[in-house]
Subunit: 196 residues, 4 copies
DNA sequence: AATGAATGAGAATTCATTCAT
DNA sequence: AATGAATGAATTCTCATTCAT
């Protein structure tokens, strides 16, 4: 094993990830073949292996990227002792925006396709999810302490909130009378009242 | 004596469905082979075809059964002009109980594995889902009309509530301090306040 | 892992082994494809997997069978305190006959293709080879003790003798003036004088 | 200035041959990939093609070089009417020394991997082997004529002797009490007595 | 001399399914 | 009801090789 260099996100690597993301979402990981991916990318299956060592690595890269996009913008909230209401809103906003973002791709992936990862890779993703959870727990706990939320179990509550968000990808499509921003506000209000 | 009998739910048929349900949930539909199922059942793959015409039929039967278990107990609510609060509670209760029920199996299936069904069969499942949705919409609409809930979009709201329920299968396990009944009450209260 | 049943040597299993033996010898293990084997057997590649779990298992079965055919008939010599000359002759005779026998197939396999076996399977073959060696060592040692052979290192000597035999498969073809029995006698005499 | 120069044994060419020799021996020709070779050499597979036109050419070059190293030092013996005993000893000595020489590499290659060569290239190697054989035959014949050896078939006898030598690579490793020179002497004496 | 990208061919293997028994 | 044998289609992945740079 030569020193594993984190492969640069070259052009082709990005292309493969984008196309795979869509396909995995539409057809599922197992049902998407390397040929499908190659076809979308405009080259032959064998060429994929110049950029990814396996199909699993593609899945992993996609999941990791998405989880980081969700966690990175809210990571700082955990240490910062700000307004729990605003923090909760930011968490919801970030999560919804990624879930419904231009990529229109993965999602639910992280509900269902983790089993296709090797244990080590699954751990990486699960660690990121844990981080997300911790941030959420902290926000809720502070809100309760400050008397802004009623006394609820943070873990259960965060799961309920995240569940509402995660599945928006399945049924939501933006309309004039209900944009993504409207949806964010709606979910935030729904959760807020649920916590009152 | 009819010629074409809908295959009775014979012993083996039930066995196959139970084992498949668990496997589909654990590994996913595509990742579960007929051999896996047969192994669990204690016979050889070829024998499955004495009871089901295809793997897809197994999936369909499972999904249909589950959807009917969810819809049947609440179907009457749509016609009945009862208390929307109680009705909402019953909807949540039924759905949660099936989702977390003794079977501990399918779930999410109906988020993700519908693509593996033929169009006709997918329609059957989607019709059941539509029925579930209609019941929910009606309950919410009546609640709004009666001034019990604030003015919200019923479709979006029902999706949010169903999402919270569907994903409980992923993270919830009953504890002494939080039984399934406690969880039902919690979700109900959370939704209720969200609607206030 | 279900209890690993030693598969019966059914008809097809034997057929596959015979055809593979020839192909492995002619083209080498790596260069022989499952398609090649299936073609020779008159069915499609997938069917091979009803009888062998992998290509490696075929190789292993062949090698094991051959080694046992060599070792079994002489195994009793080790315990028996008979005439070392006659014993040496029997060892040579058995080994040559298998090597050049009707199978006309594997051989040399066991010089070169062991690397294609899994460690556990390689061990099985190597243990059989060790057994062969021990029998040979014992015969030579007794011969030396009894003053029938000059004082030589048994290990080296046995290696030289076995080498002469193993490679006969590469160059020998029976002729009127030199049958397999003649060859056996010749090698025996050559070794005997070498030991005098 | 010739147009088509037989590629000089430049530094890289030699490096590739050395590394390949080891790999071919350890893993076999078919099982060794150009990537394996390139890795060992410290560059990328594509670069090999600046020095060799194909994988087969590498194999051919290695085999040819080795056969020439064996044949060249004894070629003159055929014409020279010297002492058959001393000549036989030289033949054995040269062959053993190359087989076990510092290269510690190919060997047996020339038993098994000839099938991977194109017909023309196979012929080159086989011609060299024939030359080796002729030299050996001549030596044995002269020895018999001079009454130094008993009346044996030269072809068979040479094959037996060469077989003992070729396979030393498989089992011999030099020890204090048995150096390569000791082994040469042992094989020579063993053959000599066998011929007496 | 060296490399990254690309590819055609082919490898082993899996799998849902069929069918005769 | 149950099974062993058989298969067509597909899948992931490997690999020698080419070519532009």
């Amino acid at each position: 094993m030569p020193d594993v260099v984190v492969k640069e996100n070259g052009k082709q690597r990005t292309l493969i990830m984008q196309k795979s993301q869509v396909l995995f979402w539409e057809k599922g990981y197992a049902e998407t073949s390397m040929k499908d991916i190659a076809n979308e990318c405009g080259f032959r299956p064998a060429n994929i292996y110049n950029f990814f060592e396996s199909k699993e690595e593609i899945l992993f890269s996609i999941l990791k990227e998405e989880m980081e996009e969700i966690v990175n913008p809210i990571r700082y909230l955990e240490k910062e002792d700000g307004d729990p209401l605003q923090q909760l809103r930011l968490l919801i906003e970030t999560h919804v925006k990624i879930t419904l973002g231009e990529k229109r791709a993965s999602k639910l992936l992280f509900d269902t396709e983790l089993r296709n990862l090797s244990p080590e890779r699954r751990k990486v993703i699960l660690d990121l999810r844990d981080e997300y959870n911790c941030i959420g727990y902290t926000i809720l706990k502070r809100g309760i302490e400050k008397g802004l939320f009623r006394k609820v179990d943070e873990k259960i509550t965060l799961n309920l909130i995240a569940s509402m968000i995660v599945r928006t990808r399945l049924w939501f499509s933006p309309e004039e009378w209900m944009t993504i921003d409207d949806l964010i506000e709606f979910i935030f209000q729904f959760a807020l009242k649920g916590l009152s």
